[in-house]
Symmetry: C2
Subunit: 272 residues, 2 copies
Amino acid sequence: MISVVLLGAGNVASHLYNAFSTSKTIKVTQWYNRSIGSIKSFKNSVAITDNLKDLKDADIYILALSDSSISKVSQNLPFSGRFVVHTSGSVNIHDLDKKNTRGVFYPLQTFSKSAAIDFKNVPFCIESEDKSKLKLLKELAGSLGSPVYKINTEQRQTLHLSAVFVNNFTNQLYRIAHEISDSKSINFEILKPLISETANKVQELSPYMAQTGPAKRNDLKTIKRHLKQLEKEEHKELYKLLTKSIQKTHGTSTLRQDSVQANSVTKKRNDK
Amino acid sequence: MISVVLLGAGNVASHLYNAFSTSKTIKVTQWYNRSIGSIKSFKNSVAITDNLKDLKDADIYILALSDSSISKVSQNLPFSGRFVVHTSGSVNIHDLDKKNTRGVFYPLQTFSKSAAIDFKNVPFCIESEDKSKLKLLKELAGSLGSPVYKINTEQRQTLHLSAVFVNNFTNQLYRIAHEISDSKSINFEILKPLISETANKVQELSPYMAQTGPAKRNDLKTIKRHLKQLEKEEHKELYKLLTKSIQKTHGTSTLRQDSVQANSVTKKRNDK
């Protein structure tokens, strides 16, 4: 049985608490939050506190806090020599106070308060300055049914950056498609199967192999018409930049270097 | 029983042929392709031809051809007064020769030769100049188990444009994440569950509601660090443009207007 003290009450902390609570090999000994209000409703299931001085003994202290609070809270812990991890994609392992054994337990997934999470689909990126502690982190992830990867701080920060591309930026492309289709009274439902299939395709195929469309096949007529259809300058800019990016990847460059500014598409010699 | 003559041998035509072949209410009477080689292997299952003059009688002629061939082939059809549709997202219904009754049967999905397609996940956008033919198009889609939507040419062209955003451009963001993570020897596997979940989320939630991340919460420290981490100028540009787009959508603009050129991030008064 692994005993855990959980710190924080945001999305990650809440989902971790729920998952740990149903695990047979993990016991949440105590739940800390700066403001007790957010966790008060759990007081019959777990010991809660808003005072770091009251923290109980545990195998691992999980700081599921905002990036900006991690360092400070780790300094304020009233003990040393114990195992303390954070759950952030971007905070350096060394930002944790060195009086404790430091580690990272970073779930690479998008959490929202409402949606249920299946931890089978949450890869954990683990790191520890004391290699013997990696086993405990593996057990912790394993007991949730989650895949687990040993990842150093630089790699984790790169993953966090990559996640912005595949999650936040991708979602913004969905948003733009929603805007564009709304403007012509088109039901966004129609696009949902394509959104799913695009994500499914790269589960098996590399994104390079999965690419199709006017940019890749250098279909200037369609690209030109699309740019004409787009009403917002911001959407035109994005269309051109992403088209240029695809053409660079696939060696089919045709957009002029200055086209992002010039708002024109012309055929040019493919000099790759 | 609906009798179909299929024209073309690309991805859409091939997947339609396979789906129609297993349907109990559709009979492919004949399959035409300009070069007989591509369909010769089917000669024991269906009548094949490379000569438009040999086309048999059918309830519907489906021109599953490249955008640039549709108009010409429709002109070369040796009959009139029959029902002729194309499957393109961008070609106008009026580009079909008016000697026949014109329609559109556009599957909004990404097809690749190898991957099997479940037509339940292929919405068909239908259009017909003769409204009485819409029933036949609905039956055709219905017999494949596909959702079907009545969509005019302008809407279809807007859907085609939206599809470029949610499919080609999204896939390029996956590609960039693949490049970035490869450069630090990170297994792209780790990002796949996040790719799936991002697509899953907008099946229920609007993309607006689903958004999270540093751009939306105006986390300048993370944005700055990400821009520093990115090695390619092209990736920086995209990062900035998409961040600006998210901030515009969510009213948290902080990137300077000129930041795409200036490669700097500064806090400015939010004047929205």
